[in-house]
């Protein structure tokens, strides 16, 4: 699949962040004026285990180039055990996506606590860089987006 590289192309990355840890960590990164790539859009979720695997497919359908799921470190879950389920679920999901042709770099999960502002910045920067190297994602994209919307016939 040859993809025309546009020098100005910036990836669109969706990050699902747990309200209790990663979202707070991202907030702290902001308070500390840390700089991280602006192509990451954060969606706040009550717990990383709230993230349904369908959300990830949906993101790819709607044109995201990468998806990141972040939650509390195992043992620190606000709901005690939520992220243990996340861990199992997304280890399998990542492999299933790879099996269907999606690079595992395009879907990653990380544990980032409320105090780890620097880890949030570093993770997001690295993921953004990795996806930039992979180029735009066309796999699993809805026709509407791959064809360029209503204006395109």
């Amino acid at each position: 699949m040859s993809v025309k590289r546009d020098e100005n192309w910036e990836p669109q990355i969706l990050a699902f962040c747990c309200n209790w840890c990663t979202y707070t960590g991202a907030d702290l990164a902001g308070l500390n004026r840390m700089k991280y790539p602006e192509n990451v859009r954060v969606v706040r979720v009550p717990c990383s285990s709230r993230v349904n695997p369908q959300f990830i497919l949906r993101a790819f359908q709607k044109g995201c180039d990468g998806v990141l799921v972040c939650g509390c470190h195992p043992g620190d879950c606000h709901y005690a055990t939520g992220n243990y389920f996340t861990r199992r679920r997304f280890m399998l999901m990542q492999r299933l996506l790879e099996y269907n042709g999606i690079d595992p770099k395009r879907f990653q999960a990380r544990w980032i606590s409320g105090s780890e502002a620097a880890k949030f910045r570093d993770t997001v920067t690295r993921v953004s860089q990795e996806i930039k190297e992979l180029g735009p994602n066309k796999k699993f994209q809805e026709e509407w987006y791959s064809e360029g919307g209503a204006g395109n016939e």
């Binding site: 509407w144 919307g149 209503a150 016939e153």
Partner: protein, 327 residues
């Protein structure tokens, strides 16, 4: 007129010059009508296609118009008038096009999406030489050797195909192929189905009075409620219209729907007049064998046997017909 089978590719090339030609072919192990690629040999024998050619005239998903909402609503209709040729379509599938013509073009209702495709299609039918064990079209009143509504009727004549034009469109086809044709040709027209079904002329009316008959409890229980029978059926024409919405813009499309689905008759508010598979299967069988006959004077089942072949639960409309004829 006759055409040597060795000249078939040449004939298809002439037809493909100004139209998309669909021929029986195979994609990923599924026999279906495919767009002719301009060079492959075409096998008109063997089993009939597993999928009917209905999606050429009535696509599985058909975009109707794009819309954009702003200060005013912009609507851009998607009008397609493709010149198409369906080559090698068998009498059972030809009859199914006849049924769809009734539905989409008659009684004062003309479906513009269907009619645009129908007017621009040339149907070159092929008499069936290889009925499957599930085929029962001659019991449904068809002749497997002849399709009266074809533009050109082909029959197998050994080394040749014997062609006869039935319509003006068909005459034009024969004229275009003139260089490859020669006079004469004798075709065998003795194909008959091995499966005989007791489809009596009285059955449509009889079934109409059997709506509450206990037979339905028995014949519908094995159904798993999937849509295989309706989607492989050449005559099932039900569709739904929905939109693919993206914010303030999107596409309106219509797509096949199936009376086997639980949401097919569900109304706003949640009531469903056909709540279980009994009502759904009854509706399908009644529609095929009784309702359509009442409205248009012919059966909606053409006897192609695809639903018998493909049903996951091995339900069999022919067994039902025989049973219903006896009670």
């Amino acid at each position: 007129m006759q055409l040597k089978k060795t000249d078939l590719t040449g004939a298809l090339k002439i037809l493909a010059a100004d139209a998309s030609v669909f021929v029986p072919g195979e994609i990923e192990g599924i026999k279906r009508f495919v767009l002719w690629d301009g060079e492959s040999d075409v096998d008109l024998g063997g089993a009939n296609t597993q999928l009917p050619p209905k999606d050429i005239l009535f696509p599985c998903t058909e975009k109707m118009y794009n819309y954009k909402m702003g200060d005013s609503i912009e609507i851009k209709e998607i009008v397609e008038k493709p010149r198409q040729v369906i080559f090698g379509i068998r009498p059972c599938d030809m009859r199914s096009i006849d049924c769809m013509d009734h539905v989409f073009l008659e009684k004062g209702f003309v479906d513009s999406y269907y009619s645009r495709k129908r007017e621009n299609v040339t149907l070159i039918a092929m008499g069936c030489t290889t009925p499957e064990r599930t085929c029962f079209c001659d019991s449904m009143g068809l002749d497997p050797n002849n399709a009266p509504n074809a533009d050109v009727m082909m029959n197998d004549g050994g080394d040749t195909l014997v062609l006869e034009a039935y319509t003006e469109k068909g005459k034009a086809v024969l004229e275009a192929l003139n260089g490859l044709l020669s006079e004469g040709g004798q075709a065998k027209k003795d194909t008959a189905c091995t499966l005989k079904v007791n489809m009596t002329p009285e059955l449509p009316e009889k079934l109409a009075g059997m709506f509450d008959h206990p037979i339905w409890d028995e014949v519908t229980r094995a159904c798993i409620g999937c849509a295989t029978c309706t989607y492989v059926c050449p005559t099932c024409y039900c569709f739904d219209i929905d939109s693919d919405n993206h914010g303030a813009e999107g596409t309106k499309f219509r797509c096949w729907d199936s009376c086997m689905f639980s949401d097919y008759t569900r109304m706003a508010g949640g009531h469903d007049p056909r709540p279980t598979k009994k009502e759904r299967v009854r509706n399908r069988y009644m529609h095929k064998l009784s309702y359509f006959h009442e409205r248009y004077g012919q059966h909606l089942c053409v006897g192609c046997g695809r639903c018998v072949e493909k049903c996951p639960a091995h339900m069999d409309i022919t067994m039902f017909i025989d049973k219903a004829a006896e009670v």
